[in-house]
């Protein structure tokens, strides 16, 4: 073997498996070992090494008989614990669902399974996908493999971002070749940026939401988290597809996303939205953004300054819409049918005891916010107004996309921060400031690692494209990736 198996990309693993350089079982065993070796990062809520080996064996059998299912066949991945997986505990990072073993498989995880991929375990996450640091998991926080080389956080444990922090940390630490994430307001892109990996949030409706524990139905979208842009293209191809079981799943064809690789950006018009700056944002992020624009220009794209005037309202809008939907979506966790139940003297007591014990602080906070904004007397002022603003935000994008093909912006206003660094909820919410606008508009977005902060931490650049135009998004992302020449270190503990 020319390269350590855990250091491979999905594309390399595919080619190696095809060339019979190694087997899926060998590839899986290397990753099972890596998962065990990196337990101190707490990237997984549940490890499923046995199931993974069974799947790998089946993959090898298929390959031996020439029935390879595709690029993902035999590829070890991590599954965010928000996806319901048949026969495997699915917690959503919550005490509420501790011990909950679904009798069904989410569409996306089933698609991946049907494509032959090998699930290594369930990745840790902020409870019910609410958070930007994976500190809100009932199963303990996940640690980012990166360490600051200097500065106040040097040597401290850093957060991997969130909510898909377990997935991000696992991919960055090379515990898996790719991982599923879900993105409601930035939960794929922000942890990808914090962890030095690629995170792709597809167009709303590209991937089925069926079987994914719901946070905010109008925003939730599954996507791949990988080490390369090409890998995201490959993995998305196995996740996406119209699903009649999800009314909001789009009846569109799934293109061969990998076909976008190598096309470059020549002739594309790239918009630079002037509103994507935040108070106190480090200069290095602005500089990187400028650098990104230069790379794209050098690669033949035309750079255009654009304006998305309602951007500043995106965050408050998001923090009304998402909690409103969440307050209703999470109402089903009532202790009656499954999950946690804490008995009480009456039905109401049982509800209160169960939900007080089952939900963590941030989840309770958002349920309260959501309940408030939907209440009689407040609904028009908050929820209705937020929906109106949401329409305006989508309108901003629609009009700039008449002129440009892709937008370039920072992914997050900061690099990864230390654990327990952001104690007040609003400063935590500010992590999403650059990711929520595309979420509200349902647009595809991708974070590509583009450089390092002055303290040696990864920084991502975000690209946003038109609805269902992931192909163009991937073209621009690959250009950034190539120009940045970003090298993901091999972290100790993850070496297989």
């Amino acid at each position: 073997m020319s390269k350590t198996l855990t250091n491979l990309t999905i594309a390399e693993a595919r080619d190696g498996l095809a060339a019979k350089e190694f087997s899926a079982v060998e590839l899986t065993e290397a990753h099972n070992d890596a998962v065990v070796a990196a337990r101190d990062l707490n990237a997984f809520v549940s490890e499923t090494p046995g199931l993974a080996l069974d799947a790998a064996k089946a993959s090898d059998v298929r390959r031996a008989s020439g029935d390879v299912l595709g690029s993902m066949d035999g590829v070890p991945i991590a599954m965010k614990d928000l996806f319901c997986t048949e026969g495997v505990q699915s917690t959503a990072g919550s005490h509420m669902l501790e011990g909950f073993v679904p009798a069904y498989e989410s569409t996306v995880s089933k698609n991946l399974k049907d494509a032959g991929s090998v699930m290594l375990g369930k990745a840790n996450m902020d409870e019910f996908a609410m958070g930007s640091s994976t500190e809100n998991s009932y199963y303990g926080n996940t640690i980012n493999p990166w360490k600051a080389s200097s500065g106040p956080d040097a040597g401290s444990d850093l957060v991997p971002g969130g909510s898909s922090g377990g997935s991000a940390s696992a991919v960055a630490t090379r515990l898996c070749l790719g991982a599923t994430g879900t993105d409601t307001g930035g939960s794929i892109r922000q942890p990808a940026s914090f962890s030095g990996i690629v995170g792709l949030k597809p167009t709303y409706g590209r991937c089925s939401r069926w079987g994914i524990v719901a946070f905010a139905s109008s925003l939730d979208q599954a996507g791949p988290m990988t080490r390369t842009v090409r890998d995201s293209a490959i993995m998305l191809g196995s996740m996406a597809g119209h699903d009649p079981k999800d009314s909001t799943s789009a009846p569109v064809e799934t293109p061969n996303f990998e076909s976008a690789m190598g096309l470059g950006v020549k002739g594309l018009r790239i918009g630079i939205p002037k509103e994507y700056t935040a108070e106190g944002m480090p200069q290095e992020i602005s500089d990187l953004w400028q650098l990104g624009a230069d790379w794209l220009r050098e690669a033949g794209a035309e750079i255009v300054d654009v304006s998305l005037p309602h951007t500043k309202y995106a965050l408050p809008t998001y923090y009304i819409v998402a909690p409103a939907e969440a307050s209703s979506n999470l109402a089903r966790y009532d202790g009656v049918r499954y999950g946690l139940r804490v008995e009480g003297d009456s039905l109401d007591d049982m509800y209160m005891n169960t939900r007080a014990a089952g939900f963590g602080e941030e989840v309770q906070r958002r349920i309260l916010i959501g309940t408030y904004v939907l209440s009689a007397g407040y609904y028009d002022a908050y929820y209705v107004k937020a929906q109106q603003v949401r329409t305006r935000i989508a309108g901003d994008f629609k009009s700039v996309f008449e002129d440009v093909d892709v937008l370039l912006a920072p992914t997050a206003p900061s690099p990864a921060f230390a654990m327990n660094a952001q104690l007040d909820p609003v400063s935590m919410y500010l992590n999403d400031i650059f990711t929520v606008p595309a979420s509200l508009a349902g647009l595809p977005g991708i974070s590509v690692p583009a450089g390092l902060s002055e303290h040696g931490l990864p920084l991502g650049l975000q690209l946003i494209a038109k609805p269902f135009d992931e192909l163009t998004l991937l073209r621009a992302a690959e250009t950034i990736e190539q120009s940045a020449g970003f090298e993901l270190p091999v972290f100790s503990g993850g070496e297989g």
């Binding site: 679904p102 939401r209 719901a214 009314s247 209703s328 009532d334 009656v336 509800y351 009689a376």
Partner: protein, 485 residues
């Protein structure tokens, strides 16, 4: 017929609006593939969606949309080509999602009208405010265990149409007729089976009272889940009476949700306004708005059956039936079918109506049978009418034959033959009987000749008796007249 409550301070009028919940006829639930069949073992018709398992999503059953549109057309209502499902949030053990998917400000059907046929032959128009689709909840069973409540989710997610009337009714009777009319319409349309005893149709009854002459709408109480026409009427009476007594004794009607207790004949408070839920309605983000074209509505319209109002008009204009008879015959689609089958090609419509209404309905009622279960088929009743028409039997004998048909299910001709009931039309035989009676009744003959013409009836009776009722009554009359002068 004006309904008034006579109180101590004067006469009161009752104002009634109804929300009828009608279960949609469909094989599967509103948002899942689970069966809607009635009476399965608990929790056997429950999908992952109905149980609100994590990550499960609703997908609308198009059949239910079609049924709602169909019903809207039957209610002569505005069909909304764009409508939205909304979540109504509240916690209860038999509501697995802790929200009911319903429709709020954008229902699938808007304003319409229902015509009530009053017993005096007049009609009343009751406005329909809207019809919307919503999910039913499951069932909590508190009587299965001393400590615990059991939940059956078989009904959870079953599609209901909530048909909301304007506050246009003014008496318990009107409300009863309204519910029956709605039931009749949905049964004609086959959009709801209307079986109130199985819970496929139930009503929330809104009641308020006001002094006669007032046009204000006063605070109302809502009596929830009333499950028979009789109880709807009783609940209104009891509630209106309660409100009048309350107001007259210096109290104030409080907006409340109440329950009717049929055994006590009274309503009792469930929860008052301050404990009313804030349902926090908002558009369900799991579902797209329901949109359809005018062509879709037209296509459904083209399949509508003749509805009771139109059928009634036709019976009156084409068959010359009275408003009352026509109204009675069209209440059920099956009755209309039966009647028209009895009518066949050219039987007498009024005679047929009389036989169906007076004789058949009476017999069915006595045997507690529906018209579909009638032991006498429409064809057989038609044959009976033919036997009367061609003088094979008299109308009186026909009633006996009909009774025997009900009992045996035999064809009328078979019964007439077997029992020898064929009418005597032989002049000789009738003459002999007439002569015989006259000969044996000198006293009565004298009375008749003395001017007592009423006694003619007595003679007829005697002759019929002598012929076991088989003599043709027309011939007997004619002959008597000749013989007695």
């Amino acid at each position: 017929m004006t309904y008034r409550i006579v109180g101590e301070t004067g006469e009161w009028e009752v104002v009634i609006g109804l929300e009828v919940h009608a279960q949609v006829v469909s094989n599967s639930k509103l948002f899942s593939g689970a069966s809607t069949e009635f009476g399965g073992a608990p929790n056997t018709h429950v999908s992952l969606v109905d149980a609100a398992m994590p990550g499960m999503l609703p997908v609308v059953n198009e059949k239910c949309i079609e049924q709602a549109v169909r019903t809207g057309l039957g209610l002569k209502a505005k069909i909304n080509n764009y409508s939205v499902f909304a979540r109504k949030n509240y916690f209860y053990a038999d509501l697995p999602q802790s929200y009911q998917i319903s429709q709020f400000d954008k229902p699938i059907v808007g304003a319409g009208v229902v015509i009530l046929d009053m017993p005096d032959g007049t009609t009343r128009e009751i406005g329909i405010e809207r019809l919307h689709l919503e999910q039913d909840a499951g069932k909590s069973m508190h009587d299965q265990d001393p400590k615990r409540t059991f939940v059956d989710l078989n009904r959870s997610g079953v599609a209901l149409m909530e048909i909301v009337s304007d506050p246009d009714m003014r008496s318990p009777e009107e409300a009863g007729i309204y519910v029956r009319k709605i039931r009749s319409i949905v049964r004609y349309l086959e959009t709801c089976d209307g079986n109130m005893e199985q819970g496929s149709m139930r009503a929330d009854v809104n009641v308020s009272v006001r002094k006669v002459g007032s046009t204000e709408l006063n605070t109302r109480c809502e009596i929830k889940n009333v499950n028979s026409v009789r109880f709807v009427m009783q609940a209104i009476e009891a509630e209106a009476q309660r409100q009048v007594e309350l107001v007259e004794s210096g109290g104030e009607v409080e907006q409340q949700t109440r329950q009717f207790d049929p055994s006590k004949g009274e309503t009792k408070a469930m929860r008052s306004k301050e404990f009313a839920h804030d349902y926090r309605y908002f558009p369900d983000p799991d579902l797209l708005p329901i949109e359809f074209s005018e062509e879709y509505v037209e296509a459904i319209k083209a399949t509508l059956p003749e509805l009771p109002d139109e059928k009634k008009q036709r019976y009156m204009s084409e068959y010359g039936l009275s408003a009352y008879d026509a109204g009675v015959l069209v209440v059920d689609r099956e009755t209309g079918h039966y009647y028209e089958a009895v009518l066949g090609k050219n039987r007498d419509p009024k005679l047929a109506a009389n036989w169906v209404i007076s004789n058949l309905f009476g017999a069915l009622k006595a045997e507690s049978k529906s018209i579909e279960e009638s032991p006498v088929s429409a064809e057989q009743l038609g044959q009976l009418l033919d036997l009367i028409a061609d003088d094979t039997i008299s109308g009186k004998i026909a009633k006996d034959v009909f009774e025997k048909m009900i009992a045996s299910g035999d064809d009328p001709a078979v019964i007439v033959e077997k029992e020898g009931l064929k009418q005597i039309t032989d002049t000789g035989a009738i003459e002999a009987a007439v002569d015989d009676v006259i000969a044996n009744s000198p006293e009565q003959v004298a009375q008749f000749q003395g001017g007592n013409e009423k006694i003619a009836g007595w003679f007829v009776g005697q002759i019929m008796k002598a012929t076991q009722g088989k003599a043709n009554p027309g011939m007997v009359n004619k002959m008597l007249k000749e013989k007695l002068g």
